[in-house]
């Protein structure tokens, strides 16, 4: 992924362009609809879903409240089990640490397990600058990498691509990265998956260094947990001699036992399966491997300091909120201008980036994302479907409203609000304004001029009644005359 999200226009412009793309809308509609149905079926199967969700929320809140203590416990447990723990305050430091570790092995390429954290810090680009090639091995990430594209979904980064687009990408680009796709490649998903298997097979068997993220880290035991489907994760976690895991500090769980909650919540919310095909857990250095854990802050502690916004750190990256969001389904993931799209991205991205620490996308000043980030809290109709499906009960609408209050408002809006405040302040002023409005109502345009047009671009001006309710009440004595 050589593209960068920086310098992207604000959400409304991105979304306006995206909704014109009928192919994109078709792909998204089909995919989100499928997964919504699957999720609902497997969640409905569990009689204690509400209790699991509540426990998941509480465990995460408890962890965040005591994060310092549990991180130290984790560090000790991982170290005791033969692993090495590194702390990275921001993206640049994390990238530096990982590149240094790879260089120390003498290798110039690594295989990667799909990881949101490493996308967030722009690790692949940072490694490339030091002459290290990072090969993505998740099928969707491979599609994104080969297509020089951006991920558009947390779970299925290539959800915006349909099968024939994927076939074209494989046919044109696979050869540049390794084993080419077969000449007669069809667009049958089976054939495409088989092409990916063959393309990556030798690389898996020969790679000496792997980089992963983790879904969970257990403070009590020092165990890391990765959930996946394809087996590329197992390949990367098992075969290479050196394993480097980059994990956000909020991915922590206090005790081994807590997995009993999250291994039920995550697969059912995420892929809509009772269980994902493969889950790997490992504690420290196992089976002769060398293991490094890089703990990543990169703005998380700033989010933690916000009493309302901190609940976003409970997120386990299941992507259920994307799949139910009417805005995401129509605008797609790219419009959000971040590796975290959808409702969770709309609250996570502005908070993480506000701290000024996000990314290798940090080569431009934070102001470059300012407009986009200020617009993200508005990328929602506040319908609340995201909150409903969230397995850790993040009240996304609450955080959206909170962030809206924090973002700077345009001058016209501020003036308008001040004027409205003045009118509403005294009943007399309101009554006069209403009478004036009633008299002038025929002259009201369908669309407002100047900066106010932003409001009427997507709405009709409501009809102004000839008489206000209060005038009617006075005239008819409450309707009795």
């Amino acid at each position: 992924m050589s593209g960068t999200f920086l310098g992207m226009p604000a959400f409304p412009r991105n979304a306006a362009a995206a909704v014109q793309d009928s192919q994109l809308r078709f792909n998204l509609r089909k995919a989100t609809r499928t997964i919504r149905g699957k999720r609902a079926a497997v969640v409905g199967e569990l009689p204690d879903w509400a209790a699991l969700r509540e426990a998941g929320k509480q465990i995460k809140d408890h962890t965040l409240r005591n994060l310092d203590r549990y991180l130290l416990q984790l560090e000790e447990a991982v170290t005791r089990a033969g692993g090495h723990v590194h702390w990275a305050a921001d993206a640049a430091e994390a990238n530096r640490i990982v590149a240094g570790l790879v260089e120390a092995t003498g290798e110039t390429s690594v295989v990667k397990v799909k990881s949101m954290a490493t996308q967030e810090i722009g690790l692949n680009e940072a490694l490339a600058e030091r002459g290290i090639t990072a090969y993505e091995t998740d099928l969707a990430e491979l599609i994104v990498q080969l297509g020089d594209d951006w991920p558009s979904h947390i779970l299925v980064p290539a959800i915006h691509r349909n099968r024939s687009e994927i076939r074209e990408i494989f046919r044109e680009r696979m050869g540049e990265w390794g084993r080419p796709a077969p000449e007669d490649l069809s667009d049958d998903p089976r054939a495409l998956a088989e092409a990916a298997r063959l393309h990556l097979r030798e690389r898996f068997l020969a790679s000496e260094v792997a980089i992963s993220g983790a879904n969970f880290m257990i403070a009590e035991t020092g165990t890391l947990v990765v959930l996946e489907s394809e087996g590329n994760g197992r390949m990367c976690l098992t075969l290479p001699r050196t394993l480097i895991s980059v994990v956000g500090i909020e991915k922590l769980l206090p005790a081994w036992r807590d997995l009993e909650v999250f291994l039920q919540l995550l697969p059912r919310s995420s892929t809509g399966e009772r269980m994902n095909p493969y889950t790997s857990t490992w504690t420290g250095a196992v089976e002769g491997q060398e293991f490094h854990l890089v703990l990543l802050d990169n703005g998380r502690t700033a989010v933690l300091a916000d009493e309302v916004g901190r609940q976003a750190l409970r997120c386990i990256r299941c992507s259920a909120c994307l799949n139910v969001c009417p805005v995401y389904e129509r605008a797609g993931g790219h419009a959000y201008g971040s590796v975290y799209p959808g409702p969770i991205g709309a609250i996570l991205t502005p908070q993480l980036r506000a701290s000024g620490t996000v990314a290798s996308r940090d080569r431009l000043p934070p102001s470059a994302t300012g407009d986009l980030d200020a617009s993200l809290p508005y990328a929602s109709s506040l319908c609340g479907a995201c909150f409903e499906v969230c397995p850790v009960a993040i009240d996304i609408p609450e955080v959206l409203v909170h962030l809206r209050a924090r973002t700077p408002h345009p001058r016209a809006e501020r003036l308008g609000m001040r004027a409205a405040g003045w009118v509403f302040d005294r009943p007399v002023r309101l009554a006069r304004a209403q009478r004036l409005g009633g008299r002038l109502r025929r002259f009201l345009p369908r669309r407002l001029p100047g900066p106010l047009s932003a409001w009427t671009d997507t709405r009709d001006i409501p009809d102004v009644p000839a008489e206000s309710f209060r005038d009617w009440w006075d005239r008819t004595e409450g309707g009795t005359r």
């Binding site: 426990a55 130290l72 305050a89 099928l139 349909n162 990916a196 020969a206 291994l263 857990t281 502690t301």
Partner: protein
């Protein structure tokens, strides 16, 4: 708060005192950018949560009684009464073991894995038959695989049991036709088998690289739900939870079985 966290009376101590992290304190770790980042991150956390309320954890979801042996599955009864699923927790203790096995087999088959439920005495016969059907000749066998199972691998025409001793290279594993193992646990509700790299399973690569995995599960290893499995497993061992063959839904969310892991999973439950 659940009782498992005795240290809770000192929630966010200002110093990394009570958690045994002494060596990481100031001075002993090598001075460098990572050391100071560690201190910085910890300081930011402490400042961020200072004054935040403590969060309690209540576990009102279904949990098996801790004492329940893997084979005595019905313990999750109380809160699980009416469920839309045909399956949930079995209620009658006597029939429950059979129901758990039945549920396990049904759920594993849902992932399009091949499932057999047979009497333990027929294990060898079933292994030989499965390998013959598959046409798997050179098959990896972990060092601690029961003798009878390993003999069955050799029993079908051309069958060869390939030991992982000395350890096979990744390329050698890639050249094999399959692998036969036991497992550490089975989970009925999710149709999951769990490997813990025990003697009858071998190291992780053994069950990953060959394209065909035949896994034998003792009926007594099958638990009802995830909580019982988590309680029974040892986190110090590398675990692999397997629910069906490798799969992807990355193309139009259309599920395709078989990507990088074994494309065919066959499970034999031994009663």
């Amino acid at each position: 708060m659940s009782s498992r966290e005795p240290a809770d009376e000192a929630p966010t101590g200002s110093a990394p005192g009570g958690t045994g992290s002494a060596p990481g304190g100031i001075g002993s770790a090598p001075e460098g950018p990572t050391t100071s980042s560690r201190d910085r991150v910890l300081a930011r956390i402490r400042a961020a949560v200072a004054g935040a309320p403590e969060a309690r954890i209540t576990r009102s979801y279904r949990i098996a009684s801790p004492a329940s042996a893997p084979s005595s599955a019905p313990s999750s009864a109380p809160s699980s009464a009416p469920s839309s699923a045909p399956s949930s927790a079995p209620s009658s203790a006597s029939a429950s073991a059979g129901k758990v096995i039945e549920l396990f087999a049904e759920r594993v088959a849902d992932y399009r894995a091949v499932v057999h439920v047979v009497d333990a005495a027929r294990a060898g016969e079933v292994i030989a038959g499965a390998l013959a059907r598959r046409g798997a000749r050179r098959v990896a066998v972990p060092g601690g695989l029961p003798q009878e199972w390993a003999r069955a691998v050799r029993a079908h025409p051309g069958g060869e049991a390939v030991p992982d001793d000395p350890p096979l290279s990744a390329a050698e594993l890639d050249g094999l036709d399959g692998v036969v193992t036991g497992c550490a646990a089975g989970i009925a509700e999710t149709g999951t088998i769990v490997l813990d790299a025990g003697p009858d399973q071998g190291r992780r690569a053994l069950t990953l690289v060959p394209d065909y995995h035949l896994c034998l599960v003792w009926a007594g290893q099958i638990v009802t739900g995830v909580p019982e499995a988590v309680a029974a497993l040892d986190p110090a061992r590398p675990l692999t939870w397997i629910s069906g063959p490798s799969a992807t839904s990355d193309i139009e969310l259309d599920r395709v079985e078989g990507v990088h892991g074994p494309r065919t999973l066959e499970v034999v439950v031994l009663r």
